[in-house]
Amino acid sequence: MSDRTRSVRKTALWKAALTYLVLGLGAVTMLVPFYWMVLTSLQPPEMAFSMGQIRWIPERIVWQNYPEAWKAIDIPRLYWNSIVVAVLGTLGQVLTSSLAAFAFARLEFPGRDRLFFAYLATMMVPGSVTMIPNFVLLRWLGWIDTYQALIIPGMFSAYGTFLLRQFFMGLPTELEDAAKIDGSSYAGIWARVTLPLSRPALATLTTFTFMGFWGAYMWPLIIVQSPELRTLPIGLASFVGRYSAEYSLWMAASVIALIPVLLLFIFNQRYFQEGIKMSGIKG
């Protein structure tokens, strides 16, 4: 082994150690909110709150809050509704956004940039003033108090289209050109070249959109009236009263509600893991 390789190895080792140290210190602080949620969910109710003084190390642990939270709100029902809404909504959003983003990023057509800017512009209008027009629209469609109202209006966001457009524009064009020469249609390029190359971006958008649907509170609260259609965030809010909150039960239910989002994030990690294997695709 030459001196040079050894010194390179040594630098690499130092770099890794430093990274671990920096990230490790940060990680401790990043764990605080989650730790607090879990901790609170394992405390007897009267211990959960004492003048904002947080006991970081528990005196004792009780599991009782989990079955009690399960009993207090109809968790299976809420879960089912949230899953249906988030899964269908995310599928629809990722699909329509990736189609539109492909057109914006890769196709030439008259008025393209103007249309795209109109997309962007709608994001600049605060939700407080579009809420009522939106509600009136859905009433006119007869969708008040339905699953469609929870799913479909959230499927066409400009955000997803913009995100994917940026990513598509950053992709190398050689592969597409090759596919074109081979006689592939645009749809073929979209499905066979662009989407496989964009897995990290699609994973990102899937995660964000799912989280958006999963955590949505105000819109479901307003649009849904039947208890049978309520989603998790509405159920969770019932632990917060006008004057005080049932912190232990609230946090227990919140931890239960977190699981799908965490699982999805951990699952999608694999797409951030490795760079695109250019050679593999060229093969």
Binding site: E46, F49, S50, M51, G52, V84, L88, L91, G92, L95, T96, L99, M131, I132, F135, V136, R139, I144, T146, Y147, Q148, I151, I152, M155, A178, A179, D182, G183, S184, S185, A187, G188, W190, A191, R192, P196, M218, L221, I222, Q225, S226, P227, E228, L229, I234, A237, S238, V240, G241, R242, Y243, S244, A245, I281, G283
Partner: protein, 446 residues
């Protein structure tokens, strides 16, 4: 990946996925997918938009017990105003919704949203004279009755008996004055060696109780002037602020809010429940919270008086039927139940305030509940009713503007950037400027 051109049209596949998502969403609306909803089909329902206090479940159960189940009550949690306002503005009307302050009742009524309940009251034999007369600003708009309350609450002093005993302070008694309260609060405030407060003597005090007792008023009778720059108001403000600024026996609003559950509500309640505050001036509905802590040993006493003007604050919430609702008879059937003996005694028993109808308020059941034998002083709530007043409103300024100005100037006072009298002067000046502008230009107001 192979370079073989793929002739299958993936767009069609995309279309298929999209269609199935849309269809899926539509199909889920079919009755079978939401059991319970289908069971209600064809049944008369009353959607009741109100804060989801656990007491509501008792009240609904009471309705089914006395009335039967031909009308189904759906408790729809009310979270801030955005929900009910969007629904009302969008033409979806709940049968019954709650309004929590007289200013909002007046605004809704002025805009023609609320049903005049007089004809139905007459038919069902509900008489206005049976309610506490002090509740009129919550119920009346001109000569119309636009809302009916089922509970109300006079502000009294809740105090922690154990903390009083431990500090060697005698329990508050009838006829005590503010100096007595201040002296008690001093002894009940505990600090560590560095001056950090471990326990406060008293929670945030609603300023109007003190201001009114000093003879001060927020607005003139016609509502065209803010009177907070009067000498009485300034003296009241000095005294009110001294609890925090010089005596340090109470948390500032922002400190108190820093410990609240949400949106600023209930910080003091949390502290009182955790036995970190010895006194809390608030209405009886807080018993629902305080009963939750079984260890908490509390009692109530009348608010102290200055001896000049007798006064305390009166709070309530009323239920209104939106004009656009098509189901008014069912809505009123439930509203009638809320005014009935059955529900009024549920209010009395659960601690959710004072029954709104005088006779039930003064009933034996209200005064003594065998389930809570320690709560022997319920008479205090009724005694305070004699001089209780709802918060003041002026028709010439929106409550949001007035509250924003009041809080801004008082926040600066808590930070010692201005004196209490300066704060009063500036509040009056700013509010009067807006009132003048609104009178000159009525378009600006609602």
């Amino acid at each position: 990946m192979s370079r073989t051109p793929d002739r299958r049209p993936p767009l069609a596949a995309a279309g298929a996925i999209l269609t199935s998502v849309l269809l899926g969403a539509a199909l889920l609306t079919a009755p079978g997918c939401a059991p319970g909803r289908s069971a209600r089909e064809g049944k008369v329902t009353v959607r009741w938009v109100v804060d989801p206090n656990p007491v509501r479940q008792d009240q609904i159960a009471g309705f089914y017990r006395t009335h039967g189940r031909d009308i189904e009550i759906i408790l729809d949690p009310d979270a801030g105003r955005q929900k009910v306002l969007t629904q009302l503005a969008g033409g979806i009307y709940p049968e019954l919704f709650a309004i929590y302050d007289p200013a909002t009742v007046q605004v809704f009524a002025r805009k023609g949203v609320l049903t005049d309940l007089r004809p139905m009251m007459k038919r069902h034999g509900i008489r206005l004279e049976d309610f506490w007369p002090q509740l009129a600003p919550y119920m009346l708009y001109g000569d119309q009755v636009v809302g009916l309350p089922d509970n109300c609450g006079t502000y009294v002093v809740f105090y922690n008996k154990r903390l009083f005993r431990e500090a060697g302070v005698p329990y508050p008694r009838e006829g005590w004055n503010w100096n007595d309260l201040l002296a008690a609060a001093r002894k009940l405030t505990r600090r560590d060696e560095r001056g950090r407060t471990l326990q406060f003597g008293i929670g945030y005090i609603e300023p109007w109780i003190i201001f009114w007792q000093y003879g001060a008023r927020m607005y003139s009778d016609d509502g065209k002037r803010c009177l907070l720059d009067s000498p009485e108001a300034k003296k009241a403000a000095e005294f009110w602020a001294s609890f925090r600024l010089t005596e340090r026996v109470t948390p500032t609003p922002s400190e108190e809010q820093g410990l609240a559950a949400m949106g600023g509500w209930g910080g003091t309640a949390n502290l009182f429940k955790a036995e970190k505050i010895a006194m809390h001036i608030v209405g009886r509905w807080m018993s629902v919270e305080y009963r939750k802590n079984k260890e908490l040993e509390w009692d109530v006493a009348p608010v102290p008086q200055t001896g000049k003007v007798r006064a305390t604050l009166l709070a309530s919430k009323v239920y209104a039927i939106p004009k656009g609702n098509k189901n008014k008879e069912a809505a009123f059937t439930f509203l009638k139940y809320l005014m009935s003996k059955e529900n009024q005694l549920i209010v009395a028993a659960t601690g959710d305030g004072i029954p709104s109808i005088r006779a039930y308020g003064q009933s034996r059941e209200f005064l003594y509940n065998p389930d809570y034998p320690n709560e022997r002083n319920n008479q205090v709530f009724l005694d305070e009713m004699r001089w209780a007043r709802p918060p003041e409103v002026s028709p010439y300024i929106s409550e949001l503007d007035a509250t924003a100005i009041f809080n801004e100037e008082m926040d600066l006072m808590w930070q010692r950037k201005q004196s209490p009298s300066q704060a009063c002067e500036r509040i009056a000046r700013r509010i009067n400027a807006i009132i003048r502008r609104n009178i000159a230009n009525p378009n600006l107001l609602d």
